[in-house]
Subunit: 238 residues, 2 copies
């Protein structure tokens, strides 16, 4: 029951920042099981520090939507179909524009990184390695997002993309979906190479639409949460 996730400190800034970074990376890598609970005192003991920095980090992750806090530890939020639809609506509005920006600002090094991530994704798809495909996908996105100069835009996108990441691990295991995703990535990449902002905008629009459709098709277990859903409810708040 006590599946201890491995956390080690990374030397950057104060303890809270280090712990925050570590836990977020753990979540982003899909290394945190959906039902698993994080308890501040346990993590603190594991890292050899006090509760407070851990607690601060966990609360920050809750505020950013990465976790939900219950009276018995912190866990991943369980997204309803409505939640996923809401997230994708925001992504549909933001990501095409951001991609258009990236088409202008990506430098040679960035394009090279993107090419590598694309090849990695294709190789993973061919090998049927869902986890590798998942990582390549994240690397691809993080790279072009890093080239977007409007940091508020890129950070908002990154956050919402991360929120569906947990569910996406399931979707990306599906073979036909992988093919569609790879095709989308390649189209976006080529638009970037040509520095064609309009094409990047359109390709990204398509990409997001496809991703959402795949989600909705492959996720029947999620109920639709009509009205007062309890999926994202914080502790005692409205």
């Amino acid at each position: 029951m006590t599946e201890t996730i491995e956390l080690k400190r990374v030397g950057e800034g104060n303890l809270r920042a280090q712990v925050y970074q570590q836990i977020r990376l753990t979540i982003q890598h899909g290394e945190l099981a959906p039902g698993q609970k994080l308890v501040d005192v346990d993590i603190a003991a594991q890292l050899g520090i006090s509760r407070m920095p851990v607690r601060d980090a966990l609360m920050q992750l809750v505020h950013e939507g990465y976790l939900v806090g219950t009276t018995r530890g912190f866990t991943l939020p369980t997204l309803t179909a409505t939640d996923v639809a809401d997230i994708f609506e925001v992504r549909r509005l933001l990501e095409p524009r951001a991609a258009a920006h990236a088409a202008r600002t990506l430098d040679a090094a960035g394009l090279k990184t993107l090419a590598a991530a694309l090849r990695e994704a294709e190789a993973a798809a061919a090998a049927g390695d869902a986890d590798r495909f998942f990582q390549a996908n994240s690397a691809f996105r993080n790279c072009w997002l890093g080239a977007v100069e409007n940091e508020r835009l890129s950070q908002t996108i990154a956050r919402f993309a991360d929120h569906v990441l947990v569910v996406r691990l399931r979707t990306l295991s599906h073979q036909p979906t992988q093919a569609v995703v790879v095709a989308g990535m390649r189209a976006i990449y080529e638009a970037f190479v040509k520095r064609d902002a309009v094409a990047a905008y359109d390709c990204m629009t398509h990409f997001i639409q496809n991703a959402e459709e795949r989600f909705m098709k492959l996720s029947p277990p999620l109920q639709h949460s009509s009205g007062e859903g309890e999926s994202m409810s914080r502790r005692g708040k409205s």
Copy 2:
């Protein structure tokens, strides 16, 4: 120098939530001077509680972009022209769509509230009362945003709108600007009354564009922060 802002506890949830709510409202009402610093221990003493809930609330506000934390207290962020432009780019992408949704979902009570806020804004503009105009403007926005069912969308908008609120207080003091804003509000309101989603979308697009133009025109003191701006930098982070 020690301008003690008045804070009183409001009975809702735990101490952190109460303090958070209070400070955020203080900021949203423009009652916090730009240079003024908030110190957790001072606020704690004023409220008769310990530092920790106050500290948690302040840190949450930092994470949400309402404040910046230095080693000598928390203050309002000083936005550069680039910051404002970035915020408005996100708002341009999100708000028209949100307004279109509101046109569908606003009920009679909501429309009544909007009408009241609109009248209040017109009266304040006629009286030349900048502060009253500012409040009416916020009430108007909060009302229609509350009707948007996609809470992630509405909350993201609310947060970014709040970030420019501090600067907006200056802009809204300008008489010609008030006239333009009132006209925009009226157009949006009428689109809402007609339940015309397309019109609401277009009016909101216009409204945001106007707001941004006014900002850029009336804010020469803000430098453009080319490259490594220090305006939004957190403490020791990248």
